[in-house]
């Protein structure tokens, strides 16, 4: 990560050496990784599970997995952030399944409306402790997601934050499965196009 604040809009970038140190069993490397991504991991967990104690358990589990399986991370195949958020999301869904609960995002979506949005995901002020690069990136991603047709955004959010499979989304929305698949791919394509510069800047 650059030492000086920058206006370049990129997610946090980790010194690759940190991963090498992590693989070699250097505990301080895990601390550095947590300092950079811990708040994001916790925020994601909070968006998916209702109880803050559960969110803590999710993040602790996720970082235990990160610590144990650092050697399976492949920098040529994806970003550290994608790796970490994938693990956090999986652990959150595991916890929800174990407790037979629905994802928080899904509860909210059901409780509030069918307008296509998942309230609460992007609400709230930005805290000061999130890095300037992460803030910039968050704004871009949020804007790009908001720019999608509501129906496309909805299936993306139900899948990612709600943990629903395509068939479950189809049932949930009373839409044909084919429609859900088409919307999902179209939404991902648009998002990829919109976030292209962000992804290139980071790699």
């Amino acid at each position: 990560m650059p030492a000086t604040p920058t206006v370049v809009s990129t997610p946090p970038v980790l010194d690759p050496a940190v991963i090498a140190r992590l693989v070699s069993g250097d505990e301080t490397a895990l601390g550095e990784l947590y300092d950079l991504f811990g708040a994001l991991a916790y925020s994601l967990a909070c968006a998916m599970v209702t109880d803050p104690a559960d969110a803590e358990e999710v993040v602790a589990d996720a970082f235990a997995q990160i610590w144990r399986s650092a050697s399976t991370f492949d920098p040529s195949r994806g970003s550290v952030m994608a790796w970490i958020t994938t693990i956090v999301r999986s652990r959150a869904l595991d916890l929800l399944r174990a407790h037979r609960r629905r994802a928080k995002a899904l509860e909210q979506a059901v409780a509030i409306s069918n307008d296509g949005s998942l309230p609460g995901l992007s609400a709230g002020p930005e805290p000061a402790d999130r890095g300037v690069e992460q803030l910039e990136a968050a704004t871009i991603v949020r804007r790009s997601l908001a720019a999608l047709p509501a129906a496309q955004r909805q299936v993306l959010e139900l899948a990612y934050f709600g943990g629903l499979s395509q068939s479950q989304i189809a049932t949930h929305l009373s839409e044909p499965l084919g429609t859900v698949k088409t919307r999902m791919r179209a939404g991902m394509e648009k998002l990829r196009h919109a976030l292209g510069p962000l992804m290139e800047a980071r790699t």
Binding site: G25, E27, S43, R68, F73, V141, Y160
Partner: protein, 265 residues
């Protein structure tokens, strides 16, 4: 070019939304197609960025302490041998770590080999070595899942393909339910340079052979092919020919191994 259906699945896979019953099939395809893997990798970067849209929450300071305590009690995978998990570690789900144990040891060895080199070269080598190991694990596991799913089904046809002499031999398993075949060849020397072996499924006496895919064997004479059977093809005979690299639309040489499906319809 990736078929549209696979692109749909790739988007869903990056979102973790592929229906469970479709996952083995997709992952088997993923293991085969570097192009599809690249697509999924890129889509995963997109979903990784989606996490940035959640409302920020500050974690309690005790969470960091807990994570560091857990880490101190556990070992990273590269350092793990077969000892039981240390007490106090939070991980409750052990997943299937044992299946990758040899690769972990290999990873550890590869990492060990480069220790004496310069720091920059060392990190680069580690990354390359780990990339290779990870790719191997990913491909091996996906392929194994696919093989097991194909073999462990009630309605599987077994076809023994034999040559005129004794070796080589091959066995073809056709899972009618999932419409997939696995071919395992033995004692078959690798195809000459610029050539490949191609497996054909033939429906009946006058039917045109339908390609089920190409394969080659390793130096030890063993080779394996996992393939989807085109919908509607009821195989009564399996045959192997030698073809130009990349395979042929129709056989250009006489089959040197053939076998009949025992209970062909």
């Amino acid at each position: 070019v990736i078929p549209a259906e696979r692109l749909d699945q790739a988007a869903a896979y990056a979102l973790g939304a592929v229906d469970p019953s479709d996952i083995p099939g997709f992952e088997a395809e993923l293991a085969r197609s570097e192009e599809l893997r690249r697509e999924v990798d890129e889509l995963r970067r997109v979903t990784g960025l989606m996490a940035l849209t959640v409302a920020p929450q500050a974690p309690p300071p005790r969470l960091r302490e807990q994570i560091m305590t857990n880490a101190h009690a556990a070992h990273p995978m590269a350092a793990v041998r077969s000892e039981p998990r240390p007490p106090g570690a939070v991980l409750r789900r052990r997943s299937s770590a044992w299946t990758v144990a040899p690769w972990i040891l290999l990873a550890a060895a590869l990492v060990g080999v480069v220790v004496m080199r310069g720091r920059v070269a060392q990190e680069r080598d580690q990354r390359i070595a780990l990339t290779q190991v990870t790719d191997s694990i990913r491909i091996t596991l996906a392929a194994r899942d696919s093989v097991l799913a194909t073999l462990l089904a009630p309605d599987v046809e077994t076809v023994k393909l034999v040559a005129t002499g004794k070796p080589p031999s091959a066995r073809m398993y056709w899972n009618r339910a999932s419409n997939r075949v696995i071919l395992a060849a033995f004692a078959l020397p690798p195809a000459p340079s610029g050539r490949t072996y191609q497996l054909w499924g033939i429906a009946g006496a006058n039917a045109r052979p339908v390609s089920l895919g190409t394969f080659n064997t390793a130096a030890n004479g063993e080779g394996r092919l996992t393939a989807a059977v085109p919908p509607g093809l009821s195989i009564s005979v399996g045959a192997i020919t030698e073809e130009p690299a990349g395979g042929s639309p129709q056989p250009t040489t006489q089959p040197f191994m053939v076998g009949q499906v025992k209970t062909a319809q």
